[in-house]
């Protein structure tokens, strides 16, 4: 974990209620995909944990959905605003298990962390396939960005207004070497059931601190109690215990 002051470089709406923000500052500590940052927002007591979408040359890119007062305040932030941010949080994805042609599945604002992951996997020479799932057409984002990296991209929408009608699992075909995913829990459960390989899943939980101190986001796993913020957010498929 590192604490630093970051400056808003850009903050634009890229889909319905979804914004992309670039923050400039120290990015030396941020090496893995699937990690997150924790942002202090004026007037809010707790920080807001947001996953890292991309990170290079002193710029962190995050994509967030406006869901409450904190993200509403973020959407109004102007260029040049300075933010107190904790970076380098969470374990991130382990790329060593990807195999030759990994499949990446993202749902809604679970899509962003897969972007840096895809970039890293492609840089390693992997053939990357991506399935991006959204509720409806006006919520779709980053299809072109993933294509520009060289990934094979499919988009699904629950209402069929764009791409393949249905959920990411409806576009899932056998033949991938490993899977990586991030998204809402019902999606993760569906992938867990359908996947025929091992894989890694990134979880969401309401957090207190974001760096392992408060035990606010603990979960039970096959290998014992884990904190989503520090021992996660990425868990291996084999260690997950779904709460019934």
């Amino acid at each position: 974990m590192k604490q630093g002051i970051y400056t808003v470089k850009s903050n634009v709406k890229i889909a319905n209620s979804v914004y992309k923000m670039e923050l400039s500052g120290d990015t030396d500590g941020l090496t893995k995909s699937g990690q997150f940052i924790n942002i202090m927002i004026e007037g809010m007591y707790l920080r807001r944990p947001i996953s890292v979408c991309d990170c290079e040359n002193g710029v962190i890119t995050i994509i967030y959905k406006v869901v409450g007062k904190g993200t509403e305040a973020m959407a109004k932030m102007e260029i040049g605003k300075e933010l107190d941010v904790l970076t380098d949080l969470g374990n991130g994805y382990d790329l060593s298990k990807a195999g030759d042609n990994p499949l990446l599945l993202g749902g809604g604002v679970g899509v962003p962390p897969l972007y840096l992951l895809a970039k890293k996997l492609i840089a390693e020479g992997k053939k990357v396939s991506v399935i991006l799932g959204f509720n409806t057409k006006d919520e779709v984002f980053y299809e072109e960005e993933f294509k520009a990296l060289g990934a094979d991209v499919k988009v699904t929408t629950a209402d069929g207004s764009y791409g393949i009608k249905g959920f990411v699992t409806d576009a899932m075909e056998s033949g991938y070497s490993y899977f990586y995913t991030c998204g809402p829990e019902p999606m993760l459960k569906a992938i867990y059931k359908k996947a025929d390989t091992s894989g890694q899943m990134s979880f969401e939980e309401r957090m207190g601190c974001g760096f392992g101190a408060c035990m606010g986001c603990s979960c039970k796993t096959v290998t014992g109690y884990k904190r989503i913020c520090k021992d996660g957010p990425v868990l291996e498929k084999e260690e997950i215990l779904w709460e019934v």
Binding site: Q3, Y45, R206, F211, A213, C214, C219
Partner: protein, 303 residues
């Protein structure tokens, strides 16, 4: 240059700063952020006889100037704390640590305290009496002077180190409970634990926290904490450790003026992991601003 040194139940602290239980783990993880030897001491994660996972999630809710938590005393149990957590702490902390203990029966408290009392690294036992008494219909030990005194007596019988009783603010007369603890042999009082609170999600029309209610902490409760520390410090002769929403060097001084000889910092650690380091660094200049030579001189300075 004045002094920040204070004395807590016979042990000298370099400064009055003590990260509060439940916000600092067993310390060693914060040692990755800064040298925790600069702290007065810290109170480690509430430890029970047996391991506990705690409550289901969500366990956290935000509030204006504060938060609610219902973690539910997640901890590995006293045996593992002694065999695994304390050795890890020893590598990065040279001072005596405050051992925070919880229990669900008088026997639980005595069992856990007796074990921790024997650990060389432990300087004080901080006994949290806010837990429900499973043999007393689930009522918290800390809500009745008799039940709190029972815990104190049982713990004092099997221990040698200073026993500090951490009181709940969710009571009608905190002074009566503090006095009962003092009479039963407590060496110190710490207060306040969190205040019982609740938030409701308007979209789902359900409580935000899975446990429905939880402990409210943060700057919002600071005035309540100052008031209760003042009341208790003026009613007992044993040392009082103040806590509840403390977030700055000014808050530390205010708490000490109210009667605290040392000050715990809780929720603020979760928002700024460096807050205790920052406060210790700022204290000398804030002391100078208010013409304070030695911090120990101001304890209970307000009448």
């Amino acid at each position: 240059m004045g002094s920040m040194k204070v004395n807590l139940c016979g042990i000298e602290l370099d400064n009055p700063l003590i990260p509060a239980s439940g916000t600092f783990g067993y310390g060693y993880e914060f040692a990755e952020f800064y040298d925790i030897n600069m702290l007065g001491t810290f109170s480690f994660k509430g430890t029970t006889k047996d391991a506990r996972f705690g409550n289901p999630t969500p366990r956290i809710a935000e509030c204006p100037m504060g938060m609610i938590n219902a973690v539910g005393l997640q901890n590995p149990g006293v045996e593992k704390v002694i065999s695994e957590e304390l050795p890890k702490l020893k590598k990065c902390f040279d001072k005596k640590v405050m051992a925070n203990v919880s229990g669900f029966s008088v026997e639980d408290y005595a069992y856990t305290c007796e074990k921790l009392d024997k650990c060389e690294q432990v300087g004080w036992l901080e006994v949290n009496v806010s837990c429900p008494n499973v043999h007393g219909g689930g009522m918290s030990f800390g809500t009745s002077p008799e039940a709190a005194a029972q815990v104190v007596k049982a713990v004092k019988e099997v221990t040698t180190k200073p026993v500090i009783i951490k009181l709940s603010p969710n009571v009608t007369d905190i002074v009566a409970i503090a006095k009962a603890c003092e009479e039963a042999g407590a060496d110190g009082i710490s207060l306040i634990n969190t205040m019982l609170g609740m938030r409701i999600d308007l979209k789902t029309k359900k409580p935000v926290i899975a446990n429905k209610m939880g402990g409210f902490s943060g700057p919002a409760i600071f005035p309540v904490a100052v008031r209760m520390v003042y009341q208790v410090a003026n009613a007992v002769k044993i040392p009082v450790v103040g806590m509840g929403g403390v977030s700055s060097a000014e808050d530390v001084i205010e708490m000490m003026l109210a009667g605290a000889c040392a000050v715990e910092i809780g929720a603020a650690n979760l928002v700024n992991p460096y807050v205790c380091r920052d406060i210790i660094n700022e204290l000398p200049s804030v002391m100078k601003k208010y013409n304070i030579e030695n911090l120990s001189d101001i304890i209970g300075g307000v009448k």
